[in-house]
């Protein structure tokens, strides 16, 4: 159970500063918390509420709407196998059966060693490359039982550590707006003039 670390609070403030209203940072901060702890803890929810000016209940309400946020530990690798139409037409269901046998668990559960969590996923926007899966949101295309097994072996042996970070980290590159270049976010109440480049006054419609 942990609040955001000092370093992450700095990142959080940078993220918050980009939005006209702090609450817009809620989802990015939930990702930050999940990156820190692997899942979203109650303390992190409270802390995010303090940072963005919302109650814990509001943050929890937002968090529970979105599938990527987990509220208890999941495996180091979250394996999502697509089951929507294009993948189903190309053998997605069979792939899931194979995965369940290979990992010895049913979809929706985690291997006893805490390495793999297996889940059904919906359309992953890679439909021409069906059947697809994601491991911690990194793609594998046209997956066969053989390539699935090789993937699991590689992950278990740590051979993909440089490509696939542990669950919680999505993008490893963050946007950073240099202070001298950024315009800065202004609360909507304080930005009621036309932007400077809109020279022609608008006639009321």
């Amino acid at each position: 159970m942990s609040r955001l670390t000092e370093d992450n609070v700095r990142v959080a403030h940078e993220i918050i500063s980009r939005y006209p209203r702090p609450r817009s940072a809620t989802i990015p901060l939930l990702h930050l918390a999940q990156q820190q702890d692997g899942y979203v803890t109650n303390d992190a929810i409270r802390h995010i509420g303090e940072l963005v000016g919302a109650t814990s209940a509001e943050v929890l309400g937002t968090a529970t709407f979105y599938e990527m946020f987990k509220f208890e530990p999941v495996g180091k690798y979250l394996v999502n196998i697509c089951r929507t139409m294009s993948c189903a037409l190309m053998g997605g269901e069979e792939l899931m059966h194979h995965a369940e046998h290979r990992l010895g668990i049913k979809a929706g559960s985690t291997t006893p060693d805490g390495m793999f969590t297996l889940e059904h996923a919906e359309c992953q926007a890679a439909c021409t490359e069906a059947p697809t899966l994601q491991v911690n949101y990194r793609y594998r295309f046209r997956v066969t039982p053989e390539t699935f097994d090789a993937l699991i072996d590689d992950l278990a042996a740590g051979r993909l550590d440089s490509e696939i970070p542990a669950h919680g980290t999505v993008a490893r590159i963050r946007q950073h707006i240099p202070a001298e270049r950024g315009v800065g976010a202004v609360p909507p109440e304080d930005a009621t003039n036309a932007p400077s480049w809109m020279t022609v006054a608008e006639a009321p419609k």
Partner: protein
């Protein structure tokens, strides 16, 4: 000519056709600022900044850039719908791509983030939008990394931020990312999500984003591909743009063809004139149905679109024509089913998707979608009855009362019912749960009937006690 593929752009197939949004895909390093600048990058922005905002807006209007996110509304017209004199105005770019079958925005973000950034700059300049939020689907790690890196480069080089290229045009583009919820792709839900809330759609009226959007201010929501068209348009002008494609659907369009074809792929096609037959059978496209099987049916425009039959193969990919024929061009996603396809099961994979993705705000969608999924599940499992098939249609009628669009069929003697439908829900998720059920049941009812339980009822009066005992 069978098209060129690149290992660095999985799924994309280049052909001997005009490339408005994919020209840079051939380069392995297409996502870097260096490559962008070596290949006309930000020249469209320079062209735009050399003219007044109104002139740029007029140019986009003249080109009739149709929205590529689903509804096909002209971008230039949309930008003009903000109430006069109300500021600030925002741009929210929809990179939530999750409509079943759709695969194009992710490629555009991963392969050419600078083109997207340039498009956003042009739109904000033309429409007077003072901040841009680029909302990328949560599950797209690589797209988020590529866009973040590109924004960092672009800020450092003076293409984004304060006084862009030394002009008085200043704009922040903020990378925002979701966390997994299909319905967030709906524009008002996208705004709710960007405000930090549960991503549930708002009721229109009054919440038309152009009038009351992000933080209650006028907001333009546009798709990633729509934005990606703008740099080319600014470099080449609206006359060159409308010279490609058809009069009602100018330019090109990204279309993903998936399922049972020989070469599934993402193609930049000439808008409005390329037919489904070209796409499915043409040598430069998919090259035919896999194993030379027969085509059974196809979904023309994403999982929400009513299904087409081989009867519709000669239709061009053109929004109005597809609408009149009973479906929609939607998000440019064609899903192909050959004659080995188990149709009820295929319909289930879509209905389950929409039932699962319902946000729960409207009862007909929340309850109806789940009912449809459960009944269909039962039928697919071989445990359905005739009553179940009727019930599917009854539940559907509570979501979409009245005639529901469908394709024409010579085999069934059916005439087309044109798009759209009436609906009792706030957004299209509810109707979309019904669409595959309705299409499949209307066009392939015999396949459902073949799955029903076969019970033979022996009338009680006709059976003597001794017969019953003998049976036991």
């Amino acid at each position: 000519m069978t098209g060129t593929t690149y290992t660095h752009a999985p799924g994309f197939v280049a052909g001997d056709r005009p490339q408005i949004v994919t020209a840079r895909f051939q380069y392995e390093d297409s996502y870097t600022l260096e490559r962008a600048l070596a290949t006309d990058g930000y020249a469209g922005l320079r062209a735009a900044l050399s003219r007044s905002a109104t002139e740029v807006h007029d140019e986009v209007k003249a080109a009739t850039v149709l929205g590529r996110g689903g509804a096909g509304f002209p971008a230039g017209t949309k930008w003009g719908l903000t109430p006069a004199g109300v500021w600030p105005r925002y741009l929210v770019v929809n990179g939530d791509e999750s409509e079943p079958g759709t695969y194009k925005d992710r490629l555009l973000m991963e392969r050419d983030p600078h083109q997207l950034i340039e498009g956003c700059l042009i739109a904000c300049y033309a429409a007077g939008l003072s901040q841009c939020f680029l909302y990328i689907r949560g599950e797209m790690a690589l797209a988020q990394e590529r866009v973040a890196a590109a924004l960092n480069e672009a800020y450092a080089a003076g293409y984004v931020g304060r006084n862009i290229l030394g002009s008085d045009f200043s704009l922040d583009i903020v990378l925002h990312w979701g966390a997994g919820a299909y319905v967030v792709g709906e524009e008002t839900a996208l705004i709710e999500s960007l405000e930090g809330n549960r991503g549930m759609p708002r009721l229109k009226p009054p919440f038309f984003p152009a009038a009351i959007g992000l933080y209650g201010k006028p907001t333009i929501v546009n798709n990633v591909e729509t934005m990606a068209n703008l740099p080319w348009l600014m470099r080449n002008g609206s006359a060159a743009y409308t010279a490609i494609g058809s009069a009602t659907s100018p330019g090109t369009r990204m279309v993903a063809v998936s399922g049972h074809v020989k070469r599934p792929g993402v193609y930049e096609i000439i808008n409005g004139t390329t037919t489904f037959r070209d796409l499915l059978y043409g040598e430069e496209f998919c090259g035919g149905i896999r194993d030379n099987n027969e085509l059974k049916a196809f979904v023309p425009g994403g999982g929400s679109a009513p299904w087409f039959l081989p009867d519709q193969l000669d239709l061009p990919f053109e929004g109005r024509l597809i609408g009149a024929a009973g479906s929609m061009a939607g998000s440019g996603a064609v899903m192909v089913m050959d004659d080995t396809t188990d149709i009820p099961n295929a319909a289930l994979t879509l209905t389950r998707f929409y039932a699962h993705e319902s946000c729960g705000k409207c009862t007909p969608c929340r309850e109806g979608g789940t009912w449809l999924m459960r009944i269909l599940d039962r039928v697919v499992a071989g445990q359905g009855t005739h009553r179940d098939l009727d019930q599917l249609l009854e539940v559907g009628a509570t979501i979409c009362p009245g005639d529901f669009p469908h394709a024409s069929s010579e085999r069934l003697g059916l005439a087309a019912v044109p798009f759209p439908y009436k609906m009792t829900t706030i957004c299209f998720v509810g109707p979309s749960a019904y669409t595959p059920v309705h299409s499949a049941l209307t066009l392939f009812r015999d396949e459902f009937e073949a799955k029903l339980v076969k019970r033979t009822f022996i009338p009680v009066t006709a059976v003597s006690v001794s017969e019953t005992e003998a049976a036991l």
